[in-house]
């Protein structure tokens, strides 16, 4: 191919690329997934209402305006045990800065006595809710424990962490980003 032909071809390719960029611009807002509920980063966190150990109801959508760490756990799960002290420490440090932890217990694979003992052992002060019929675990497609969802103040999931234990520095850095 002659140099002039090649240059024309290259200019043509770039012009085509520019035309495609403009043609495929997202005028309809197709790439904003934040309004659809799904257990994935970039999507609205699926809403739920569950009861705490004390019998109070917690609805996720009522927590809008706060950064939320939604943690699925069970007492028999070693990484869940390992990450709880870091969660408690972060909760104690950030609870007054629009941050809350909601610990969803997979009660179908656990028991109430063990949960109470666990809460006392680690001195957990954040709410623990019971997923009695596992509907919330299903809605969040929890495949292994622990699984954690960082949710921003608008209720949109910013990150999903499958497995654990999560490093304390990771919890703190994610919270700092979410409460900005």
């Amino acid at each position: 191919m002659q140099p002039t032909q090649r240059r024309l071809l290259f200019i043509g390719i770039v012009a085509l690329g520019l035309a495609w960029t403009l043609f495929s611009a997202d005028k309809k807002g197709n790439s904003t997934a934040g309004l659809i509920p799904a257990p994935q980063a970039g999507f609205l966190a699926p809403d739920f209402t569950l009861e705490t150990l004390e019998g109070e109801s917690i609805t996720l959508s009522d927590l809008r305006g706060k950064a939320v760490l939604l943690n699925f756990w069970a007492t028999w799960c070693p990484p869940c045990r390992a990450e709880m002290p870091a969660f408690q420490q972060a909760y104690a440090d950030y609870a007054d800065q629009d941050f809350v932890i909601v610990a969803v217990n997979a009660i179908q694979q656990d028991n109430l006595a063990a949960i109470n003992e666990f809460q006392a052992e680690f001195g957990l002060s954040f709410p623990i809710v019971l997923d009695n019929d596992a509907n919330v675990s299903r809605a969040y497609q929890v495949r292994s424990l622990p699984t954690s969802f960082f949710i921003d103040k608008k209720g949109v999931i910013s990150e999903v962490v499958i497995g654990g234990p999560i490093a304390e520095a990771l919890i703190r850095s994610r919270i700092e980003e979410l409460i900005k």
Partner: protein, 245 residues
């Protein structure tokens, strides 16, 4: 979507696993490719290893620099194995700097080395696409096309599969290399960059998670267009230089 591979009590993180396997295959192919460019396979694998280790260290230092308070409360986490505590920009910068220093010390030819590393970069692109497929990231926008996939109760473009296919075709076209003697040094690598930028520019249009600028323009397409233009300009330049020589 396959974020976790469950083998008995063991939960394997599929996105990371796919990326690691792709890196390993990429290193093996690059070492094999070394003899095509008359480079030392040992030096090449050392270069990759140094870049990877420096990249991880740089990524961690970058993350600590961004969130010093988080590490002040948990200093042991500086050496945590948690992959979430990495800053990608810092990692890439550290990997490039370390590779450049090693390359200069060993007097590796810049463009020949990049040409030799082409299968490594090609496998990296495949690995990233597979990783996105496993994690559900880089998902497609809604569509009613017959090949749409059902993702979170919505029919969507299988954007990760498009990306895997494009990365596979790109590597298959450029590797193993043809007519090395007739091609100026660097042409294989720059062609790879141009094709990769080209398919990213095209496929980004089907993504459902694009970051938008100026209201509706997908930022990834703008970056890909700039990279494509620079790669084509570079290709023209090295061809003209080779002709002049």
């Amino acid at each position: 979507m396959l974020p976790v591979i469950q083998i008995g009590p063991l939960s394997l993180q599929a996105p990371g696993l796919f990326l690691l396997i792709s890196l390993w295959v990429g290193i093996t192919l690059a070492e094999k490719n070394a003899k095509n460019y008359k480079l030392s396979a040992d030096q090449l694998s050392n270069l990759i290893l140094i870049a990877l280790v420096s990249g991880v260290v740089g990524a961690r230092i970058g993350y600590i620099a961004r969130f010093p308070e988080a590490f002040a409360s948990a200093p042991r986490n500086i050496v945590s194995l948690n992959p979430g505590l990495l800053d990608i920009t810092g990692g890439i910068a550290a990997a490039i700097i370390a590779a450049m220093i090693y390359g200069q010390r060993k007097e590796l030819l810049f463009w020949d080395t990049l040409d030799t590393l082409l299968p490594f970069f090609g496998m990296l692109a495949i690995g990233m696409a597979l990783s996105n497929f496993a994690s559900g990231n880089a998902f497609g926008m809604e569509t009613d096309l017959p090949w749409a996939v059902d993702l979170w109760n919505t029919k969507r473009h299988p954007s990760q599969i498009y990306e895997i296919f494009a990365a596979l075709v790109t590597l298959n076209v450029l590797y193993p290399p043809k007519r090395i003697a007739q091609s100026p040094a660097g042409s294989a690598f720059i062609t790879f960059v141009a094709i990769t930028a080209g398919y990213r520019l095209f496929l980004e249009a089907f993504r459902g998670d694009s970051t938008l600028i100026f209201g509706s323009i997908r930022s990834a397409q703008v970056i890909a267009l700039i990279v494509l233009a620079l790669a084509l300009w570079g290709l023209e330049k090295i061809k003209m230089q080779a002709k002049a020589e």
